[in-house]
Subunit: 71 residues, 2 copies
DNA sequence: TTCACATTCAGACTATAGTCGTCAAACAAT
DNA sequence: ATTGTTTGACGACTATAGTCTGAATGTGAA
């Protein structure tokens, strides 16, 4: 079983691509750093709650739906 | 509108009490520190994803249901 | 090829998640 | 009043979330 961070990273990349955003666009819209988004997608970092909420808002999905896909 | 950390803290306290656990019992079952649980409940800290999952498991609720109550 | 854009990687940095030891406040029970 | 239990609060600490700059690598189109 893959780690939680890795699964979150894959999902994030998938959702971002579905919205047609680059990592940099997502980052600036979230008020986050470009390289940090890259690390999230590669499973090298995991978000805090508020970061999850910021990302979900920009991606137009509910934070809970993201979490649900990780369960 | 109250901050996300504060709302998470209140919810955590409510769920913990509903299960009849002390902060210390919850902490050891989660593999976390007692003082950290105290800080979470007081809204002084916010969890990362994996911490959210650990806590949810011990409380017998789904992580997404916790997040959903914060939206 | 070359140009432009997207992503990875690396290092140094700041902010905060999370630990640990301890003590005091609050609240029960006797 | 005292004993035990729970929680709050504190400072100091370690681990990691998150920033910043820049360079290397990839990708695709002209």
């Amino acid at each position: 079983m893959k780690g939680l961070e890795a699964r979150f990273g894959e999902l994030l990349k998938e959702l971002r691509n579905k919205k047609g955003l680059t990592q940099e666009e997502l980052a600036t819209d979230c008020g986050l750093d470009r390289t940090y988004i890259s690390m999230l997608e590669r499973g090298l970092r995991q978000p805090t709650l508020t970061t999850l909420f910021k990302i979900a808002e920009v991606l137009n999905v509910s934070p809970s739906s993201i979490v649900k896909q990780l369960e």
